[in-house]
Amino acid sequence: MSEEFEPNIVAFLCNWCSYAGADLAGTSRMHYLPNIRTIRVMCSGRVNPLFLVNALQQGADGVLISGCHPGDCHYLEGNYYARRRFMLMHKLLEHVGVDPGRVNMSWVSASEGAKFKDVVEETVTKAKEAGPMDQFRRRQINW
């Protein structure tokens, strides 16, 4: 039995652009990789960078945060704040020794179904290269 490692990716998609972009990819019958588990949030600025640490603890091998293009935020500036935060969190996790390929961020608008497909492919490829996340995953204790 030779099973290739299939990473679990948690994707935080903003309601107004990226989620609609993912929806467009689906309605356009594009095939994107099934590794991602989507969590819809109202804005990429809503995503606390600690969600990402928590996701890695709870079994994710990679994380994707996706929001509107800068300047297009439904709430005018949410993605600008998110950009600063995730830049620093990315650097911090890299410093602790987490493979930088596990943390991904992208701008996907509601009309970019094809881009969403590419983003997912790239995220999965990077997570595959990084391998299973076993650094600080929570151990499941079976009582």
Binding site: R83, R84, L88, D99
Partner: protein, 327 residues
């Protein structure tokens, strides 16, 4: 060196004022290489106050520690000021707290002390061993003179001072109402060479290092309690609903805790190095903080605790922020 007489007189002069509630400074410790923080309410107690290179504690940490009890009906809230003595690095904590509007500038009286450096008790213990009595220390341009158990000892400045002092860019208080001594010259520039050196390693080596360090952590939260910037009423790590980190001390939760701690100080850490000093298991906590400090400076050209008019880093943005890793 600050004349203790002058320091105590100034403290008395401030404490007799009606609009001052208390003064936070340093007094001689009971043993070892560190002074003790002193909170003084009455002018007659001001004689215990000192300043010398054993005064490592950051008194700015204590301003926000005061419990704000509900005011009884009919009573007026106590709006008197708190006076605080600060070194250069401690004054940055005050600036950053003012930036974050933890209190107003009128609520504090800042007694600034230009500082030539404070000694690292770990380095001193390694050189001279433990002592049961307080140690007297004096410092001139390149030598530290200590009186350990009645004997005079000498050491070079670089051998005994805290790491932060060897790369201190702000020896003079950045905010102060009274300056208790003449200003001193800046000692060095910080090139963050240690961060760059650490970063050269591949991820696996970095993780091997941090895995060893984080697994030592006993989660006493000393680093959080001593931090002048950690003044949330309820800290995220002790919160149970939602629970962000579990309380078990395994590698997963310890790593999450340390990432959280460092993350919450991103763009806020003023490098007083108190967290690392108090750590009972010697985790090099500042390595994480300094990494973020350097990145904040490089990416956003921002330095916390320098300008009282600045905006907090993560509560502001610039449309031209870098986004090199974003797809």
């Amino acid at each position: 060196m600050v004349d203790p007489k002058k320091l105590q007189d100034k403290a008395k002069e401030i404490l007799v004022r009606d609009d001052v509630r208390r003064l936070i400074g340093w007094k001689r410790g009971t043993y070892g290489y560190e002074a003790a923080p002193a909170v003084i309410k009455d002018a007659s107690d001001a004689e215990v106050l000192i300043f010398d290179p054993t005064c490592v504690q950051n008194p700015a940490s204590f301003i926000t520690l005061e419990e704000k009890l509900p005011v009884p009906r009919g009573a007026e809230p106590d709006t008197r000021k708190v006076a605080v003595m600060v070194k250069g690095c401690d004054s940055r904590a005050i600036v950053q707290q003012l930036v974050e509007k933890a209190y107003d500038r009128e609520d504090v009286i800042v007694l600034g002390i230009p500082c030539r450096g404070v000694i690292d008790h770990r380095k001193a213990e390694a050189m001279f061993g433990d002592v049961a009595a307080p140690v007297e220390v004096s410092l001139n341009s390149d030598k530290v003179t200590l009186t350990v158990n009645g004997e005079k000892k000498e050491a070079k400045r670089e051998e005994l001072l805290m790491d932060k002092c060897l790369r201190c860019r702000y020896p003079n208080p950045l905010v102060s109402d009274f300056l208790l001594d003449g200003e001193v010259e800046k000692f060095a520039d910080d090139d963050f060479g240690d961060v760059a050196e650490f970063e050269k390693q591949p991820p696996a080596d970095k993780w091997a290092y941090w895995e060893e360090q984080f697994s030592k952590c006993i989660r006493c939260y000393s680093c959080r309690n001593v931090c002048p910037m950690c003044y949330c009423v309820e800290c995220i790590v002790t919160k149970l609903r939602p629970q962000w980190t579990r309380r078990s001390t395994d590698i997963s939760e310890n790593t999450a805790y340390h990432i959280q701690r460092a993350w919450h100080l991103a763009g806020r850490c003023i490098e007083c190095m108190e967290c690392q000093r108090v750590c009972p298991v010697d985790i090099p906590i500042m390595t994480l903080n300094r990494k973020l400090t350097r990145d904040v400076k490089e990416l956003f050209d921002y330095e916390p605790g320098v300008d009282t008019e600045a905006q907090p880093l993560l509560a502001s943005y610039n449309p031209q922020d870098p986004e090199e890793y974003i797809m």
